[in-house]
Protein backbone atom coordinates (compact mmCIF):
# COMPACT_ATOMS: atom_id res chain seq x y z
CA UNK A 1 0.00 0.00 0.00
CA UNK A 2 1.38 3.41 -1.00
CA UNK A 3 -0.27 6.77 -0.47
CA UNK A 4 -1.64 8.26 -3.68
CA UNK A 5 -0.68 11.89 -4.38
CA UNK A 6 -3.78 12.21 -6.56
CA UNK A 7 -6.18 10.63 -4.06
CA UNK A 8 -5.03 11.66 -0.59
CA UNK A 9 -8.55 10.88 0.69
CA UNK A 10 -7.59 7.21 0.47
CA UNK A 11 -6.22 7.19 3.99
CA UNK A 12 -4.36 3.91 3.62
CA UNK A 13 -3.24 4.52 0.06
CA UNK A 14 -3.59 2.34 -3.02
CA UNK A 15 -2.55 -1.25 -3.65
CA UNK A 16 -0.50 -0.85 -6.82
CA UNK A 17 0.08 -4.61 -7.12
CA UNK A 18 -3.44 -4.70 -8.55
CA UNK A 19 -2.07 -3.05 -11.70
CA UNK A 20 0.07 -6.05 -12.65
CA UNK A 21 -1.71 -7.58 -15.65
CA UNK A 22 -2.94 -11.11 -15.10
CA UNK A 23 -4.67 -13.88 -17.03
CA UNK A 24 -5.27 -13.29 -20.71
CA UNK A 25 -4.39 -9.62 -20.27
CA UNK A 26 -0.72 -10.66 -20.33
CA UNK A 27 -0.95 -11.85 -23.93
CA UNK A 28 -0.22 -8.53 -25.69
CA UNK A 29 0.97 -5.01 -25.03
CA UNK A 30 -2.44 -3.63 -25.96
CA UNK A 31 -4.22 -5.91 -23.49
CA UNK A 32 -1.73 -5.06 -20.74
CA UNK A 33 -2.29 -1.34 -21.33
CA UNK A 34 -6.08 -1.84 -21.37
CA UNK A 35 -5.90 -3.79 -18.10
CA UNK A 36 -3.85 -1.14 -16.29
CA UNK A 37 -5.96 1.75 -17.55
CA UNK A 38 -9.25 0.05 -16.68
CA UNK A 39 -7.87 -0.89 -13.28
CA UNK A 40 -7.07 2.78 -12.66
CA UNK A 41 -10.52 3.92 -13.71
CA UNK A 42 -12.13 1.08 -11.79
CA UNK A 43 -10.30 1.40 -8.51
CA UNK A 44 -9.62 5.06 -7.82
CA UNK A 45 -12.54 6.45 -5.87
CA UNK A 46 -13.86 9.98 -5.58
CA UNK A 47 -14.84 9.48 -1.95
CA UNK A 48 -18.02 11.24 -0.85
CA UNK A 49 -17.43 11.72 2.88
CA UNK A 50 -14.51 9.53 3.77
CA UNK A 51 -12.25 9.26 6.76
CA UNK A 52 -10.69 12.62 5.87
CA UNK A 53 -13.74 14.82 5.11
CA UNK A 54 -11.78 17.84 3.86
CA UNK A 55 -9.96 15.69 1.33
CA UNK A 56 -13.13 13.84 0.39
CA UNK A 57 -14.74 17.21 -0.33
CA UNK A 58 -12.00 17.78 -2.88
CA UNK A 59 -12.80 14.38 -4.38
CA UNK A 60 -16.44 15.35 -4.69
CA UNK A 61 -15.56 18.63 -6.39
CA UNK A 62 -13.52 16.64 -8.91
CA UNK A 63 -16.36 14.12 -9.33
CA UNK A 64 -18.88 16.87 -10.06
CA UNK A 65 -16.49 18.30 -12.64
CA UNK A 66 -15.96 14.83 -14.11
CA UNK A 67 -19.69 14.39 -14.67
CA UNK A 68 -19.83 17.81 -16.29
CA UNK A 69 -16.86 16.86 -18.47
CA UNK A 70 -18.33 13.61 -19.76
CA UNK A 71 -21.70 15.26 -20.39
CA UNK A 72 -20.11 17.95 -22.52
CA UNK A 73 -17.25 16.07 -24.21
CA UNK A 74 -17.43 14.32 -27.56
CA UNK A 75 -15.54 11.33 -28.91
CA UNK A 76 -15.17 11.22 -32.68
CA UNK A 77 -18.13 13.56 -33.02
CA UNK A 78 -20.44 11.55 -30.76
CA UNK A 79 -21.32 12.28 -27.12
CA UNK A 80 -18.68 10.95 -24.72
CA UNK A 81 -21.48 9.47 -22.61
CA UNK A 82 -22.32 7.19 -25.54
CA UNK A 83 -18.70 6.04 -25.74
CA UNK A 84 -18.67 5.40 -21.99
CA UNK A 85 -21.91 3.43 -22.22
CA UNK A 86 -20.53 1.46 -25.15
CA UNK A 87 -17.64 0.37 -22.96
CA UNK A 88 -19.61 -0.13 -19.75
CA UNK A 89 -22.65 -2.01 -21.03
CA UNK A 90 -20.90 -5.09 -22.49
CA UNK A 91 -18.76 -5.48 -19.38
CA UNK A 92 -21.87 -5.04 -17.21
CA UNK A 93 -23.56 -7.80 -19.25
CA UNK A 94 -20.68 -10.22 -18.88
CA UNK A 95 -19.43 -9.38 -15.38
CA UNK A 96 -22.06 -7.30 -13.58
CA UNK A 97 -23.13 -3.76 -12.89
CA UNK A 98 -20.99 -1.31 -10.96
CA UNK A 99 -21.07 -1.81 -7.20
CA UNK A 100 -19.83 1.77 -6.81
CA UNK A 101 -21.73 4.96 -7.52
CA UNK A 102 -21.64 5.83 -11.20
CA UNK A 103 -21.54 8.97 -13.31
CA UNK A 104 -25.26 8.49 -13.98
CA UNK A 105 -26.16 8.39 -10.29
CA UNK A 106 -24.03 11.47 -9.58
CA UNK A 107 -25.53 13.11 -12.67
CA UNK A 108 -29.05 12.59 -11.35
CA UNK A 109 -28.12 14.19 -8.03
CA UNK A 110 -26.44 17.08 -9.83
CA UNK A 111 -29.64 17.70 -11.81
CA UNK A 112 -31.68 17.50 -8.62
CA UNK A 113 -29.48 19.91 -6.67
CA UNK A 114 -28.19 22.32 -9.30
CA UNK A 115 -30.95 21.95 -11.86
CA UNK A 116 -30.57 20.39 -15.28
CA UNK A 117 -27.98 21.79 -17.70
CA UNK A 118 -26.12 23.62 -14.93
CA UNK A 119 -23.18 25.64 -16.21
CA UNK A 120 -19.63 25.12 -15.02
CA UNK A 121 -19.70 28.32 -12.96
CA UNK A 122 -22.98 27.21 -11.35
CA UNK A 123 -21.46 23.84 -10.46
CA UNK A 124 -18.37 25.34 -8.84
CA UNK A 125 -20.32 26.58 -5.84
CA UNK A 126 -19.38 25.56 -2.30
CA UNK A 127 -22.81 25.93 -0.69
CA UNK A 128 -24.43 23.94 -3.48
CA UNK A 129 -21.73 21.33 -2.97
CA UNK A 130 -22.92 20.93 0.63
CA UNK A 131 -26.42 20.18 -0.69
CA UNK A 132 -24.97 17.77 -3.25
CA UNK A 133 -23.09 15.83 -0.56
CA UNK A 134 -26.23 15.56 1.58
CA UNK A 135 -28.29 14.23 -1.33
CA UNK A 136 -25.56 11.92 -2.66
CA UNK A 137 -25.18 10.45 0.83
CA UNK A 138 -28.62 8.91 0.33
CA UNK A 139 -27.27 6.76 -2.52
CA UNK A 140 -26.36 3.16 -1.66
CA UNK A 141 -22.93 2.16 -0.40
CA UNK A 142 -20.95 -0.55 -2.19
CA UNK A 143 -21.92 -4.07 -1.10
CA UNK A 144 -18.44 -5.49 -1.64
CA UNK A 145 -15.44 -4.03 0.16
CA UNK A 146 -13.03 -2.94 -2.57
CA UNK A 147 -10.37 -1.07 -0.65
CA UNK A 148 -8.34 -1.31 2.54
CA UNK A 149 -9.91 0.05 5.70
CA UNK A 150 -9.38 -0.50 9.40
CA UNK A 151 -11.83 -2.76 11.21
CA UNK A 152 -12.76 0.23 13.38
CA UNK A 153 -13.61 2.46 10.39
CA UNK A 154 -17.15 3.27 9.35
CA UNK A 155 -17.26 1.15 6.20
CA UNK A 156 -19.93 3.17 4.42
CA UNK A 157 -18.26 6.54 5.02
CA UNK A 158 -14.84 5.14 4.16
CA UNK A 159 -15.86 3.52 0.89
CA UNK A 160 -18.88 5.29 -0.59
CA UNK A 161 -18.02 7.35 -3.61
CA UNK A 162 -17.99 7.55 -7.38
CA UNK A 163 -15.74 5.51 -9.60
CA UNK A 164 -15.41 6.29 -13.29
CA UNK A 165 -15.68 2.62 -14.26
CA UNK A 166 -16.62 1.07 -10.92
CA UNK A 167 -15.84 -2.36 -9.59
CA UNK A 168 -18.59 -4.80 -10.50
CA UNK A 169 -21.05 -6.48 -8.23
CA UNK A 170 -20.04 -10.12 -8.45
CA UNK A 171 -22.36 -12.44 -6.48
CA UNK A 172 -19.69 -14.85 -5.27
CA UNK A 173 -17.57 -11.96 -3.96
CA UNK A 174 -20.63 -10.62 -2.15
CA UNK A 175 -21.41 -14.01 -0.61
CA UNK A 176 -17.80 -14.48 0.46
CA UNK A 177 -17.87 -11.01 2.00
CA UNK A 178 -20.83 -12.03 4.17
CA UNK A 179 -18.88 -14.94 5.59
CA UNK A 180 -15.90 -13.06 6.96
CA UNK A 181 -15.27 -10.53 9.74
CA UNK A 182 -17.13 -8.17 10.51
CA UNK A 183 -20.18 -10.24 9.66
CA UNK A 184 -18.97 -13.23 11.66
CA UNK A 185 -16.63 -13.51 14.61
CA UNK A 186 -12.92 -14.00 14.24
Amino acid sequence: MILSPLFPSLKYGEDYTQYIPRGHYTKSGALKAYFKSMMWYGRMTFILKGLEPAMARGDTRAAVLLVHAIRSATVNGAPALDAWTGLYSPTAFFVGRSDDLTIFQYGDVIDQVYGSNATLSALANESMLDAFIIEASKLPAPKILGMVIQFTDDEEEATKGMRFMGQRFVPDAFIFRQLIFRNVGT
Partner: protein, 61 residues
Protein backbone atom coordinates in the same frame (compact mmCIF):
# COMPACT_ATOMS: atom_id res chain seq x y z
CA UNK B 1 -11.88 13.39 -21.38
CA UNK B 2 -8.30 14.50 -20.86
CA UNK B 3 -8.78 17.45 -23.20
CA UNK B 4 -12.18 18.34 -21.74
CA UNK B 5 -10.91 18.18 -18.15
CA UNK B 6 -8.00 20.40 -19.13
CA UNK B 7 -10.48 22.86 -20.66
CA UNK B 8 -12.47 22.84 -17.41
CA UNK B 9 -9.30 23.38 -15.42
CA UNK B 10 -8.41 26.41 -17.53
CA UNK B 11 -11.93 27.81 -16.99
CA UNK B 12 -11.66 27.43 -13.21
CA UNK B 13 -8.18 28.93 -12.87
CA UNK B 14 -8.11 31.36 -9.97
CA UNK B 15 -11.14 29.87 -8.23
CA UNK B 16 -11.38 27.66 -5.15
CA UNK B 17 -12.00 24.72 -7.47
CA UNK B 18 -8.78 25.12 -9.44
CA UNK B 19 -6.72 22.52 -7.57
CA UNK B 20 -9.42 19.85 -7.78
CA UNK B 21 -9.94 20.63 -11.46
CA UNK B 22 -6.22 19.99 -11.93
CA UNK B 23 -6.58 16.70 -10.05
CA UNK B 24 -9.19 15.72 -12.62
CA UNK B 25 -6.73 16.48 -15.40
CA UNK B 26 -4.19 14.34 -13.58
CA UNK B 27 -6.75 11.53 -13.13
CA UNK B 28 -7.37 11.30 -16.85
CA UNK B 29 -3.70 11.96 -17.49
CA UNK B 30 -2.69 8.84 -15.58
CA UNK B 31 -5.40 6.75 -17.23
CA UNK B 32 -4.33 8.02 -20.66
CA UNK B 33 -0.64 7.37 -19.99
CA UNK B 34 -1.39 3.82 -18.86
CA UNK B 35 -3.19 3.24 -22.13
CA UNK B 36 -0.70 5.09 -24.33
CA UNK B 37 2.64 6.21 -22.93
CA UNK B 38 3.11 8.77 -25.72
CA UNK B 39 0.27 10.97 -24.44
CA UNK B 40 1.46 14.45 -23.49
CA UNK B 41 -0.01 16.20 -20.47
CA UNK B 42 1.60 19.59 -20.53
CA UNK B 43 -0.82 21.27 -18.12
CA UNK B 44 0.12 18.80 -15.45
CA UNK B 45 3.81 19.53 -15.72
CA UNK B 46 3.25 23.28 -15.89
CA UNK B 47 1.11 23.43 -12.77
CA UNK B 48 2.20 20.35 -10.85
CA UNK B 49 3.86 22.21 -7.99
CA UNK B 50 0.69 24.14 -7.29
CA UNK B 51 -0.58 21.05 -5.52
CA UNK B 52 2.58 20.60 -3.45
CA UNK B 53 3.01 17.05 -4.67
CA UNK B 54 6.46 15.44 -4.53
CA UNK B 55 8.62 15.99 -7.59
CA UNK B 56 9.17 12.21 -7.73
CA UNK B 57 5.70 11.89 -9.25
CA UNK B 58 6.28 14.67 -11.79
CA UNK B 59 5.28 13.29 -15.20
CA UNK B 60 7.93 13.21 -17.90
CA UNK B 61 7.45 15.37 -20.98
Amino acid sequence: MLAKSDEIYQSLAGTDWEADALRLVAFFGVGSKLLDDSVQILAMRKHWRMLSWPTSVLPPV
